[in-house]
Amino acid sequence: MRLNEIPVEGIPYDQLKIEKIPCAPAYAERAPELVSAGSRTVVVNPNRTCMPLGAMWAVLGVHGAIPFVQGAQGCATYVRYTFCRVFKEPATIATASFHEDAAVFGGRRNLVEGLRNLVVRYHPEVIGVVTTCSSEIIGDDMVSFIKLARAQLRQEIGPEQADRIEIVLVNTPSFAGSHLEGYDRASRAFVENMATVRDKPNGKVNIIPGLLYPGDIREIKHLLRHMGVEGIVLFDISDPLDAPLRPPQKFPYEPPGGTPAEQIRDMANSLATFALLPHAGQAGARYLERKYGVRAVVGPPPVGVQGTDQFLRTLSAVTGQPVPESLLDERGRLIDSLADTFHHTMMKKVAVMGDPDVVLGVTRFALEMGLEPVALAGGTASKTFTRDMSVILKEAGFTGDPLLLNGGDLFEFEEYLKKLPRLDLIIGNSKAVDIAKELQVPLVRTGFPVYDRFGYQKRAVVGYRGGEILLTEIVNSILGYQYPDDRTHQL
């Protein structure tokens, strides 16, 4: 037998001829009494991840800051891995490298030596100490460890330099909440530790974006610029996690941008704090309101027409700045796009999954497009999700009865979708890709995490322009999946 030559292009995937072998002779329904997450103990395909991730995300958005993870190496490495997959960027995160001795004797040595080693080599301006399951279970007394570490640093590098470093502790035991809670706790920890003085009003507004992508944060800044409003974006990952390739790089690599420490210190002087995604950021906003009377504006996510309208209206009320023509034009363009596309979107059945705030924001926009939600899965259980969602559905006059999953898992979500008579589209993150492919419907990617496609982290879905991007993606997905090409010559 003569074997085929391997061409210079290598062996293409489709020529590997991988035969898919079924696990079982035929399809059988999953045990119906165990489909609903509420009826079982085991979690299958979680729609959320762990608390430290949210805190690390936050710290990476601070200029010159580095997260220091008090735990086993995996707690830092897995999260770095995730960030690299999502952002296609390096993510610098330090770890206390817990081994057995830390589990037995506690993590004091790891923290004290670890902070020392980090500081003398990296010279960070801010360190976010992020705890983990292990350090919380061992019961590490982090506050006194940090004091000790600082005392030793004062000896080694001098008090002036040592005291200049902000060390912010964020307690994030993963068994007590999801990644959103981690971000939320970080927002509170950072303002509590750093925004400690309210002296002279700065006329600015604070923005705590939540787990929004660089493209979204750039869009929020664009809105602020056009409103003539100066903003402080806390945890501004837009530059650190979407950095230009412009060698030669500084050594060691230091990601550009991030929120400067002095801006965080100034946050108590602002007019208001906007926590755009309530579950990730409202703790910081509420703290500033309680402690310094800085008005907290919590949500709604500035997605779609009404979400962005509401954001700009409140921003205008807070600052006294009118919404300028330029933004009204942007709004008009989004409205124009809606007018041009509703024939393709109305009455289409959509399922949305992801973090609860993303699901809320996107569903509201979907309703504005005339899409009909059939299943809405917020991955992190929330006290407000169900209530807020029914308000949105009511506001749109939507009379359907979509499945609302508050927490739960994606197994329940997919089993529900499989039984639906009709589904046209899923909007959600990369964790829904298998479901979408199996149901042969398009997946419009948004939210965290998106790792199986390029560029989603660079594009906005917030604001009017972000709305147009999301709308374009939704409409083109429907056209691509459902319309024969000879109909698309004239839309």
């Binding site: 001829k17 991988i18 991840t49 030596e113």
Partner: protein, 483 residues
């Protein structure tokens, strides 16, 4: 002193003993497999990653029950590209989009109250439910993590109960993230625990052993191949063509039933000698099964592996025939890449063994490895590097981010072979990278895979982007350097 002092390590001299330059007539072994310096920006992962991600993950038909809060399971859900061909049904007449081992993420989701009161009940309930939900699973492995390790859940007791109640093959892999110094501990844990549990299982249920009439004189086990990007698709047929039968692969795309039959083979062929030689050694001691070490990367090494395996069974002639056929298939393309890659210098930073696996392969393509670094290598890995490397190669044990940068700045490689976390750092420095853990577009192993590998190396170096990176006034190409 042959050790190398890096500038970035001035304030942490503990690192010096991990870094050296190879010498022609001496094998220098650095400090390795020891505790990481806290806060040194290590790239290491945890023992759980080694057990769950590397070895447990590729097994195709088991429920991987992660006994932990949700994160540990979420991060190991379909991330590594250890592919499989065993698919669950999605709908009537339609298979799922991902193989069973990557399609479902199963976790006990430990909550605060479980941490306080213990998680064994929750684990037992979760296992029983998962078994009902996934009747297609042929086994279940319980993985512990920091949380469940620290609170001291007796998962072995739970596993025994599950097996008694359901009859399903149930194993445990106790490898909490904070045990050991790196993911290597997790490999070791999995090897030892799995070996012991399989041994006990075969005593308990002898019907699971391979029956006498099923055995052939040519039965082997391929140990330490995880089917990254379908490596097995190009590797397995080579062995089959020379006439040996691969009874089980530990653990790429393998069924649990075959893994239980591992002790029934005549020879073990060990590919990854870091993560899986343990089990080969234990089988040598326990079942008198000899093993040979091999590398399945590159023409020379793959040929050698086939020749040595064949020699054990007296199949040399067929091996020569297979090697000749395979060479003929790749000759032309290989020559193309050899010409393009001649003289290029590479740095490799991987987990451990791939540094030495690939030194020869790079030489076959006319390239030189100028620097190598390993996350979790042990002394024997460094001995193997030394045996293969040219003198003057910079070697770093358990490097951290700063050392990797300095390594790249000092050695100025044309290409950086590394994992996902570091590849973006390399790119920011203007150095092309190739994902060497899950590959860019594999398979990379064997003869045919070598062309894929060479192609990805070539694409790395010759991508047009690198000519434009120096700013709007400068274009640097291969031939022209315009200032």
């Amino acid at each position: 002193m042959p050790m190398v002092k890096m500038k970035c390590d001035e304030s942490i001299p503990e690192r010096d003993k991990h870094i050296y330059q190879t010498e022609a007539d001496k094998s220098i072994i650095p400090s390795c497999n020891i505790a990481t310096l806290p806060g040194d920006m290590t790239e290491r992962g945890c023992a759980f990653a080694g057990a769950r991600g590397v070895i447990g993950g590729p097994i195709s038909d088991i429920i991987a029950m992660v006994h932990a809060p949700v994160g540990c399971a979420w991060y190991t859900w379909g991330t590594r590209r250890h592919l499989s061909d065993l698919y669950p049904w999605a709908l009537p007449g339609r298979l799922a989009n991902a193989a069973f081992n990557r399609r479902y993420c199963v976790v006990t989701d430990m909550q605060e109250k479980d941490v306080v009161f213990g998680g064994m009940k929750k684990l037992e309930k979760s296992c029983l439910e998962a078994i009902r939900l996934f009747p297609e699973a042929k086994g279940l492995i319980i993985f512990t993590t920091c949380t469940t390790g620290l609170i001291g859940d007796d998962v072995q007791a739970v596993a025994r109960q599950i097996e008694q109640k359901t009859g399903l093959l149930t194993f445990t892999a106790e490898s909490p993230g904070c045990s050991g110094v790196s993911q290597s501990k997790g490999h070791h844990d999995f090897n030892t625990q799995f070996y012991r549990q399989v041994h006990a299982l075969r005593e308990r249920r002898p019907e699971l052993k391979m029956r006498g009439e099923e055995k052939t004189p040519y039965d082997v086990c391929l140990i330490g191949d995880y089917n990254m990007d379908w490596d097995l698709k190009v590797v397995k047929p080579l062995f089959e063509k020379i006439g040996v039968r691969i009874v089980a692969v530990f653990s790429g795309n393998e069924r649990i039933e075959n893994l239980v039959k591992m002790p029934d083979v005549r020879l073990n062929v060990v590919h990854c000698q870091r993560s899986a030689e343990y089990i080969a050694e234990m089988e040598q001691d326990g079942y008198a099964i000899p093993f040979i070490r091999c590398s399945l990367y590159g023409i020379h090494q793959t040929s050698k592996a086939l020749r040595e395996t064949a020699a054990f069974f007296g199949l040399q002639e067929r091996a020569e025939q297979v090697i000749a056929e395979e060479l003929a298939r790749v000759e032309k393309s290989l020559a193309f890449y050899r010409e393009k890659l001649q003289g290029k210098r590479v740095a490799i930073y991987v987990g451990g063994p791939r540094v030495w696996h690939w030194i020869k392969l790079m030489e076959e393509l006319g390239m030189t490895v100028v620097a190598g670094a390993c996350t979790f290598a042990h002394a024997d890995d460094y001995a193997k590097i030394n045996a293969r490397a040219q003198a003057g190669m910079l070697v770093i044990d358990a490097p951290n981010e700063f050392e990797i940068e300095e390594m790249l700045l000092e050695t100025k490689p044309d290409l950086f072979l590394t994992g996902l976390k570091e590849k973006y750092l390399g790119r920011k420095m203007g150095i092309p990278t190739v994902n060497s853990h899950s590959y860019e577009k594999g398979p990379y192993a064997g003869f045919a895979g070598m062309i894929n590998f060479a192609r990805d190396l070539y694409q790395g170096i010759y991508a047009p982007v690198w000519r434009f990176q120096w700013g709007i006034n400068t274009v640097r190409g291969e031939e022209n350097a315009v200032e």
